[in-house]
Amino acid sequence: MARLDLSQKLAILSDAARYDASCASSGTTRRDSRDGKGLGSTEGSGICHAYAPDGRCISLLKILMTNFCIYDCAYCINRVSSNVQRARFSPDEVVQLTIEFYRRNYIEGLFLSSGIIQSPDKTMEDMLRIAKRLREVENFRGYIHLKTIPDAAPELIEQAGLYADRLSINVELPTDNSVKAYAPEKNPATIRKAMGDVKSRKDVAGERSYTGKRGKRFVPAGQSTQMIIGADGSTDATILGQSTQLYGEYKLKRVYYSAFSPIPDATAKLPLIRPPLVREHRLYQADWLLRFYGFGVDEITASRPDGNLDLEVDPKLAWALQNRAQFPVDVNRASKEMLLRIPGFGTRTVGRILSTRRHRRLRYDDLLRMGASLKKARAFIVAVDWSPGGLTDSAGLRARFAPPPEQLSLF
């Protein structure tokens, strides 16, 4: 096999990384390089430096160290049984690419993951070497996200947390049985243990010792995980139940849902389907409602008997359509909790309503001026000069929002 040049390696190893949904670079400590002795800064919210035609934000240089892998996860393009072309970066190449891209303002930092070479420990050690060089030799102060190998020794994962802003450990699939079926070398218990270790280590770092000093900075942007959607038969209720548990138990910052995408050289074990993008989108919406809008999993998944989310309308609207007796809601009187349940109103709109309500009784146009989206909300609210009349309970309400049925064509 001919030796690959840097550009060819980059092509192979970014291609292999695109199935990881996360590209976030936010929520870490504030740092800069004003002292002139280093490169980079992080200022709370991350920056998307570009968008690919798939609409996804490009914030980090997201690459695999290598796509050689000794495991055989059915959904993964890098599995040992796939015939994909293999490549491997040297640590120096990853460091140089990161630094040179960063200096040109292409990226916020690095998201490094890897196939498993030789052994989990060996792989983790190589990734650590890269992170360490970036921090200690290049004085890089930008963002680093390391995807951790759950089977690696806990000391290695602990070290990774000292260099990285974020660690992620993917649970891969929504249930233990699916993991067993499709990722035979992986062990759900080990994955959970690794997440638990990161959490307890981070808890310790956050506490002050008896001297009043804080422990060493440890993954300031927290940990996240990813679940592949649509590769196995799990329902949305199962998936969201699993997420709720993960958020609670391991204090995860994010659970990413990745619609299973047909991959080149797919295995015969999995369907060559179109990625269920709408489903992925609805799961993110539902996830949001669970975390910031006070909804419970049961409420969100109750609208359909099969335990899946309604694909045609968003989960908040679906809930409102099912619970019309609770509407219309008077925007001049309702509690914050109830305002948050109005379809189309986000947390920002609700905040504005609450602050403006102290100055005037809200009319329809007032809501428009404060940037509220009324397309959906109007059927569910009452304002001084607005009442939806029979609209709230009308039989055709759902049809107003659901996309029209696909036109049939002759064949």
Binding site: D15, A52, V80, N83, R103, T267, A268, D365, R369, M370
Partner: protein, 278 residues
């Protein structure tokens, strides 16, 4: 009648200073003309002497913060609108919380526009290596902002790229950072910047991180509007990626699953052996 000249560089400080004097002296908004960068021409070229700063008027912090953004908007009415709101705030101190007030809503919208422009500038400036010899490396970029956002955004670049020299040239204002010192200069036409080999690598990355099975062009253009494309080296690949997406996906679908490579069986055997041992 007062005519207040406002410079292109340092607009924020000049506006705030003038507004303080005028409001302190009780000058009503209809008695003030704001002249940005001599745009009113010869006729108004000489500013009128402003009243001395005798009496300080209290303004809510939220107004001061909003004004600091809005002064950089491109709308010629921005200074007058801000001053008119400041005038009303004297007797309506709670006005800033009233999100339904039409004038305030307009200013908030302008503020949002400047925010967005600042955000896009942080995202879309692309430096090229000038390959100059010396202790510090040296980079330059050409950028075309929608509003007058170079001045309020340049400190971000200074915090981030402090160990190198850089210049961001724009038609509006040019920012320069040399040996740790940030300075601003008049805008300029697009300079000739040397080719930079890193752009090809960046293009390779852009093409390969894209998943053709998830094509969603409108999501891309709403965040990365076409007006920015001409200064983004990666944007030259967009058309090709979109055009080729369907075929690529079809290719994946048509390809029957292949047999695993020979080494797979061996590795699997080893793996099983390894695990049995420990």
């Amino acid at each position: 009648m007062y005519t207040v000249p406002l410079p292109r560089i340092g607009t924020d400080i000049a506006w705030r200073d003038a507004a303080k004097r005028l409001i302190g002296a009780g000058v009503s908004p209809d008695k003030v003309l704001w002249d940005f960068d001599n745009e009113m021409g010869e006729l108004f070229a000489t500013g009128t002497t402003l009243p001395p700063l005798t009496r300080r008027i209290k303004a809510p912090q939220s107004f001061v913060e909003m004004a600091n953004w809005v002064v950089w908007h491109k709308d010629p009415q921005r200074f007058a609108r801000l001053y008119a709101l400041l005038w009303r705030l004297r007797h309506q101190p709670g006005l800033m919380q009233d999100r339904a007030d039409a004038e305030l809503a307009k200013l908030r919208q302008m503020e949002k526009g400047v925010h967005r422009c600042k955000h896009k500038m942080k995202a879309f400036v692309r430096f090229r290596d000038l390959r100059q010899k010396g202790e510090r490396r040296s980079f330059a970029a050409w950028f075309e902002p929608t509003h007058h956002t170079v001045e309020p955004t340049a400190p971000f670049f200074a915090r981030r790229f402090a160990d190198m020299d850089w210049m961001i040239a724009t038609p509006d204002v040019t920012a320069q950072f040399v040996d740790g010192n940030l300075s601003f200069h008049p805008g300029q036409p697009k300079p000739d910047l040397p080719e930079d080999a890193a752009e090809a690598l960046w293009g390779t990355y852009f093409c390969n991180i894209f998943n053709p099975a998830r094509l969603k062009v409108s999501a891309m253009t709403s965040e990365m509007p076409k007006k920015y494309w001409k200064n983004l080296p990666e944007a030259q690949h967009i058309q090709g990626l979109i055009a080729g997406a369907e075929a690529k996906v079809q290719q994946m679908r048509d390809k029957a699953p292949t047999l695993p490579p020979e080494r797979a069986a061996k590795i699997k055997r080893q793996l099983r052996g390894d695990q049995a041992e420990d």
